[in-house]
């Protein structure tokens, strides 16, 4: 049975509105023109391919399922309280089992010695891993096995890319020559698609035989933890914007377009919120939420809902503290637009304020909104890690890079050090934030009329 957590529903909403927007762009030639700048750019294509894979992972991880169990005594089916996501089912071989404690990447033994009885004698040895690292598919020799697995995933990827090429590009190639604007960009698209699919294949194939990124303190696969963290990162980056956009857009336009008393009040509100250093505001709000949650534990059905609610509130609070910047920009822009001739003309023709806002103001401020949304995304992903470190981020039971880094602090100070948790969090976070940054640069260049286009 499907179950829907609160953040799931909002994430579907985001995907849904994204689809609506894409449809809208396809119908509107001038916006399509602007967006096409993004996809005429090498960096734009590569980063959007990578980001869409991250989004896809987050989406798969947002479809949750409860298992059905057959109860023999009552002859009824009951649902377990454990919630799985579609992603969990797909990558089952990676996280099916867990070990006792730390083990290094690709290792076949635990990372620390244990006393084990062999032939009635106590011996201090590194125990063998139970589930992975000792069950090679192709060859007994580890390096040879890894090489063969890689080769095999490479071949599989070539096959998949070939299928994609045939099914998607077939028509386009013969009709309009190219899917993108030139053969070169076409190649870049296929190339980045190829590398993404290859990386995923490799992680999957190697991940079912080895602990590719090691295991953590309780023996959980670090690769699995990193993959699960993608959802948290993406949700914080996107949900926050969804929460803040209505505030920013409506208040910004009201303040700028209507002006007067309304403007004064809205200005007062955002100046006040803006004057509080944001970390302190977030901290205060989260602390109060914690007090509420510890005092009312009965309102939450299980730990999943509890953690989910905390994630949701974190996004709300981040949204409430971050709308002020956008609101100020939109206010300034709407004030400018109020004086523009075509708006003045519509006023003299007797168009209502509402229709002027919908027809003239909103379409002309959208570029600021889009630039802000993509720019904020990476900053929010980074903020999550810092907030989780301060204990005012996501719930400690939620998979997140912030929590992984937090745990890695202790691992770095133990002897010998455990570096793989930190490394994996770094790797995944860096990839997401880097490509989000590159993407936002391209988008800004395409949408910002003042961008330094000559020098890019």
């Amino acid at each position: 049975m499907f179950t829907f957590l609160l953040t799931d529903i909002f994430f579907y909403l985001i995907i849904f509105s994204l689809c609506i927007y894409i449809n809208y762009v396809r119908k509107t030639p001038d916006i399509k023109q602007t967006w096409s700048h993004v996809f005429k750019n090498k960096t734009g294509i590569i980063s959007s391919v990578v980001l869409s894979f991250f989004m896809l992972t987050a989406l798969l991880d947002s479809i949750h399922i409860k298992d059905k169990l057959y109860n023999e005594n009552t002859d009824q089916y009951i649902y377990t309280s454990e919630i799985k996501s579609l992603l969990d089912i797909i990558i089952l071989p990676i996280h099916k089992n867990s070990e006792k404690s730390y083990s290094a990447p690709f290792s076949s033994h635990l990372y620390s010695k244990e006393t084990i009885k062999i032939n009635n004698k106590d011996k201090r040895i590194y125990p063998k891993l139970l589930h992975k690292g000792n069950h090679n598919k192709f060859s007994e020799k580890n390096s040879y096995n890894i090489f063969l697995t890689t080769l095999f995933s490479f071949l599989k990827t070539i096959f998949i890319i070939f299928l994609i090429y045939v099914f998607i590009f077939y028509k386009k190639i013969f009709k309009t020559k190219d899917f993108f604007y030139s053969a070169k960009l076409n190649k870049i698209f296929l190339g980045s698609l190829f590398s993404m699919i290859f990386v995923i294949m490799l992680f999957y194939d190697l991940g079912s035989q080895y602990y590719v990124l090691g295991t953590d303190k309780v023996g959980e696969d670090v690769l699995y933890k990193s993959i699960k963290s993608i959802r948290t990162g993406i949700l914080i980056g996107t949900l926050t914007t969804i929460v803040m956009l209505p505030f920013a857009i409506f208040l910004g336009i009201f303040a700028g377009y209507i002006g007067g008393f309304v403007d004064d009040i809205i200005q007062y509100i955002y100046t006040t919120l803006n004057s509080i250093p944001s970390v302190l505001l977030i901290a205060s709000a989260i602390l109060m939420l914690q007090v509420y949650m510890t005092n009312n534990p009965l309102e939450f059905e299980n730990i999943y809902e509890r953690a989910d609610l905390r994630l949701f509130f974190l996004c709300m609070i981040l949204g409430l503290t971050s709308w002020t910047g956008l609101c100020r920009l939109l206010r300034g822009e709407s004030m400018k637009l109020r004086e523009v001739e075509y708006v003045q003309a519509s006023q003299t023709f007797g168009l209502s304020k509402f229709s002027i806002i919908v027809r003239h103001i909103i379409p002309n401020i959208m570029h600021i909104v889009i630039i802000t949304v993509v720019l904020d995304f990476s900053a929010l992903v980074l903020a999550e890690a810092v907030l989780s470190y301060v204990n005012i981020g996501v719930d400690p039971t939620t998979y997140s890079w912030g929590n992984m880094i937090n745990a890695a602090r202790l691992e770095m100070s133990r002897e010998p050090i455990v570096w793989w948790s930190l490394f994996s969090a770094f790797l995944f976070m860096f990839m997401l934030v880097l490509f989000a940054n590159l993407f936002s640069d391209v988008v800004r260049d395409a949408f910002d009329p003042r961008a330094n286009k000559n020098y890019e």
């Binding site: 007062y268 004057s275 509080i276 970390v279 302190l280 901290a283 205060s284 005092n295």
Partner: protein, 325 residues
């Protein structure tokens, strides 16, 4: 000028009142003092007497806004709002929930924060501007392109990695400086080097890009074309004209954060064990000492507003065309 500053100070009052009301609502209305006490004492097996005495010790036992037991002005004075929120305006921060004098702590902890934040700002500024000028000089070439990509990569790394990585490399592997701690006087320098280096390193990506875009914006302007058509060399134009004019936004951008330097950096200070206001805030958050958090919110707001006022004043100083009304 003085009239303008006075006007700005008066404008600041409603904002401070707003912030005050907001924190008051967050800390006392959303959760009653009783619930906060319950959290501190441990959720289960807490008797009503324990809660009452905990609140009494810290002065949370009064009514929120109006005390019906008292008469006259005291009816307003003997309330949580007056004691805990209004008194912030008089800079009376009171005692923390663990019984320490907040004002004394803040005074003590201001200076270590500044000792990290100020050098980080100055060194960072120097390095970022140097890099930015370098990239602008080589604009539209491979050097600029690779430089910008490099900056984006640096920007994409969380500050936590810089700190953990730096601590591991420099302190644990190379044993150059102590991992964490603090000493007063000249001894402090060896504890400050690493945090400053890491703060600077973390800021290079975004800082360089920001200054680069400022310079590029300036380079588009007409006076640059005039200077070039007069036959000035590229470097003369860049350093004598562009750099000087771009200094205006750079300087005013710095002035706004100057007062906030006292607040310190939350993460850097707590990682390096520096007894500044940043680690003070973190400790307060982690031990859920709400009195300190309230005081810091108020202090942060005041510093932010004073930064804004200073910015306006600095505009008139560096740019004679700007007049304040």
């Amino acid at each position: 000028m003085i009239k303008y500053i006075l006007k700005r100070l008066i404008y600041a009052i409603p904002i401070l009142i707003g912030v005050n009301l907001l924190t008051f609502t967050l800390f006392f209305v959303v959760n009653s003092p009783e619930e906060v006490a319950r959290l501190h004492l441990g959720n289960k097996r807490v008797t009503q007497e324990q809660i009452i005495s905990w609140n009494e010790e810290r002065g949370y036992n009064n009514p929120l806004f109006y005390n019906t037991d008292e008469k006259g002005l005291n009816a307003f004075k003997e309330t949580i709002f007056y004691e805990k929120s209004f008194k912030l305006f008089l800079f009376e921060f009171g005692l923390s929930d663990s019984g320490r004098d907040i004002k004394y702590d803040i005074k003590q902890r201001m200076w270590p924060s500044l000792a990290i934040a100020l050098p980080s700002l100055l060194v960072g500024l120097f390095i970022n501007i140097t890099f930015a000028l370098f990239f602008v000089y080589f604009r539209s070439t491979k050097v600029d392109y690779i430089g910008v990509i490099f900056c984006v990569a640096l920007m994409s790394i969380s500050s936590l990695f810089y700190i953990i990585g730096g601590q591991y490399l420099i302190s644990k592997l190379m044993h150059l400086v102590p991992i964490s701690g603090y000493a007063h006087g000249y001894e402090a320098i060896k504890f400050l080097v690493l945090p400053v280096i890491i703060s600077v390193l973390y800021g290079i990506g975004s800082g360089t890009r920001w200054y680069r875009s400022l310079f590029l914006e300036e380079i588009e302007k007409d006076y640059v074309k005039t200077a070039k058509s007069k036959g000035l060399s590229e470097s003369a134009v860049l350093f004598n004209h562009v750099f000087k004019n771009a200094l205006i936004p750079i300087l005013t951008g710095i002035v706004v954060i100057l007062p906030l330097l006292f607040l310190g950096s939350l993460i850097v200070e707590s990682f390096f064990g520096i007894p500044g206001l940043g680690s003070y805030t973190i400790d307060a958050i982690q031990s859920q000492d709400f009195a300190i958090v309230r005081a810091m919110v108020f202090l942060g707001t005041i510093l932010y507003i004073s930064g804004l006022i200073l910015t306006d004043i600095s505009y008139t100083l560096v740019d004679p065309r700007v007049r304040l009304k």
